[in-house]
């Protein structure tokens, strides 16, 4: 990494020096041409003066013109021939043009090189910065459950609590460990997604079946939290996605809805689908804590935590980020809408529609 950077910077410096040299070369050549033309003009002026002297001394005009071929004589006055004069001007312009074109081409090529190298350097710096802030965020995310775990353990050690209080502490510690485990899984998942290293095999999948499986797995938890889940999903809607990705996306969105409704003390979640022009849409509407409309895009960023979500919410800050990335990989999209804090939310997932294909 470091060696590459040194190489890139050296190349950038070399190219920049070359560009300066080409620029200098153009100016130098231009000055050289001017110098040559000026010398030629001086020589011609001397010839003209010599011719005039010969004429004044009585040499016949024809003889003078023979001796000095560039000179024309008319009415006893010697002058430089128009052809010579024009030839000089043309030569000057030709050379200047040549240097401008050649030099310009080299300068352009070098400018492109500089832009490419500088762009690569900037992109690399950006990646490093992102990695740093990602690491900082990740370590912060871990420190909170770690602090909670340590606090519970030290409380147990320091206070010799009643069996009921000890049970509460142990449940809290187990939940903290589960939270950290989920975070490790999701961090690895999002890191793989970021580097594009996912084996994503799009195939036609029946949406109602996939959703029904996830709902069945979360129904028990929903019941405990006083949340009713209703789904009105028509059969025969096929989306092009990877089966694991589809499962993960639906699960994350549904878990997010469960957390939002649980924070509001219970309520309902409604899943509906519809077929659009070449696309299939799944809408997950909840009666939960909602969010400010201005925050709808931030929801899908890493480690976003919004105010007003209340306590009792144990998100890792990665679930919806993973949803967005997976939907991008599936050439679909996800959006979130809410009328405001306390007014529920609606998450809409959209996939490209697929024709049902008989499996072989």
């Amino acid at each position: 990494m470091r060696a590459t950077r040194v190489f890139q910077l050296t190349a950038l410096a070399l190219v920049a020096v070359s560009a300066v040299q080409v620029g200098w070369w153009i100016l130098d050549q231009h000055a050289y041409t001017l110098e040559k033309v000026r010398a030629a003009r001086t020589a011609y002026a001397e010839q003209t003066r010599a011719a005039q002297a010969l004429l004044d001394a009585g040499t016949p005009a024809q003889r003078v013109q023979q001796l000095l071929p560039g000179i024309v004589v008319s009415g006893g006055r010697a002058a430089l021939s128009t052809e010579r004069e024009q030839a000089l001007t043309t030569e000057e312009r030709r050379r200047d043009n040549q240097y401008a074109w050649e030099g310009g081409f080299f300068l352009l090529a070098l400018a492109v090189c500089i832009a490419v190298i500088a762009g690569a350097l900037r992109a690399e710096a950006h990646v490093l910065e992102e990695q740093d802030s990602f690491l900082a965020l990740v370590s912060h995310q871990f420190k909170t459950p770690l602090a909670s775990l340590q606090l519970s353990l030290e409380t147990l050690a320091l206070r010799s609590p009643t069996p009921e209080a000890a049970r509460t502490l142990i449940d809290r510690m187990l939940a903290d460990v589960a939270r950290m485990e989920l975070m490790v899984t999701q961090i690895l998942e999002s890191a793989r997604l970021e580097r594009g290293r996912v084996a994503f095999k799009a195939e036609p999948l029946e949406l109602s079946g996939a959703v029904a499986r996830v709902v069945a797995q979360l129904e028990e938890r929903a019941r405990q939290e006083h949340i009713s889940i209703s789904s009105d999903i028509g059969p025969g809607l096929y989306v092009a996605s990877d089966p694991l990705a589809l499962d993960l996306v639906v699960r994350n969105v549904l878990e997010n809805a469960l957390a939002a409704v649980a924070s509001a003390g219970g309520g309902s979640i409604a899943l509906t689908t519809r077929a659009l022009d070449g696309e299939v849409e799944l809408s997950v509407r909840d009666s939960g804590v909602g969010f400010r409309p201005a925050d709808s895009a931030r929801l899908f960023e890493k480690f976003t935590r919004l105010p007003g979500r209340g306590t009792g919410h144990y998100g890792t800050g990665l679930g919806l980020f993973i949803v967005r990335r997976l939907m991008e990989v599936a050439r679909g999209r996800v959006s979130a809408h809410s009328e405001g804090v306390g007014r529920g939310a609606n998450f809409v997932l959209t996939w490209p529609a697929a024709a049902p294909e008989p499996r072989t």
């Binding site: 370590s139 770690l146 602090a147 909670s148 519970s152 030290e154 409380t155 320091l158 939940a175 007003g308």
Partner: protein
């Protein structure tokens, strides 16, 4: 701290993580403090607008306004309640930021329970000292300046009114209690901030500079806040002849 005093001491815990908030609350209650909690900065400011407490335990990374912002807002409103920051970011630059925003102490997560309780006690003890010392001698007059320790206000020799930060007031109180004696930088750190909070004693020097600017007729040639080279400071109420 006596049981009766502990009974009257209320602590506000501002922490968005419910487990950590519950753990901190239970432990403070077990020590005899009364505890209120807030889940984010806005809630905390709203609670503080209508209630008083002896100490705020304030998480830094809160959703919405962060802990530093909450502390700055409070200080801007003239609320001098001591603040103990809890944060997942423990680097020195962050520590300094926390203390400069008006915090009293700074503890990095994950922390040890006993250290946490020790620091809570230390902050409250410092404030107990300040309050009782201010009750005994509420007003300090020197060189035409008049300082009211309870109101954190002063009138300078020029007649200009001055709002003191709680640290400036505490330093002045320590110096005034030992008027005429040499007080070392370490003593000042210990009395005003507690132990290893600041990375250097240089901070004390900065606070002395601020006090000179407020109260000396010529801050470059101080007559009340004298530097004792290599040791610390000496405060003279009469002014150096």
């Amino acid at each position: 701290m006596s049981a009766a005093a502990a009974h009257a001491t209320r602590v506000l815990v501002v922490e968005d993580d419910p487990h950590l908030a519950a753990g901190v609350m239970e432990n403070l209650r077990a020590e005899g403090y009364e505890v209120s909690t807030a889940g984010d900065g806005e809630q905390a400011l709203a609670w503080l607008a209508g209630h008083n407490c002896a100490l705020i335990v304030l998480d830094v990374m809160l959703p919405g306004i962060d802990g530093f912002g909450v502390c700055r807002t409070l200080r801007g409103q003239g609320n001098n309640t001591p603040v103990l920051f809890l944060t997942a970011r423990g680097d020195p630059a962050d520590r300094v930021r926390g203390l400069e925003s008006g915090g009293d102490d700074y503890l990095a997560k994950p922390f040890h329970l006993q250290e946490f309780l020790l620091r809570v006690r230390a902050i409250l003890r410092r404030w107990d000292w300040y309050h009782s010392a201010s009750a005994a001698a509420a007003v300090l007059r020197f060189g035409g300046n008049e300082v009211d320790f309870r109101a954190f206000r002063a009138r300078a020799w020029s007649g200009e009114p001055q709002e003191l930060t709680e640290k400036e007031a505490m330093i002045l109180k320590v110096l005034a209690e030992h008027a005429g004696e040499i007080v070392s930088r370490e003593d000042l750190l210990e009395r005003v901030w507690g132990y290893d909070v600041f990375p250097s004693t240089r901070t004390v020097d900065n606070f002395i500079l601020r006090l000179r600017k407020r109260f000396e007729k010529d801050p470059a040639n101080p007559r009340h806040f004298l530097t004792v080279w290599g040791v610390g400071y000496r405060f003279l109420t009469e002014g150096e002849p």
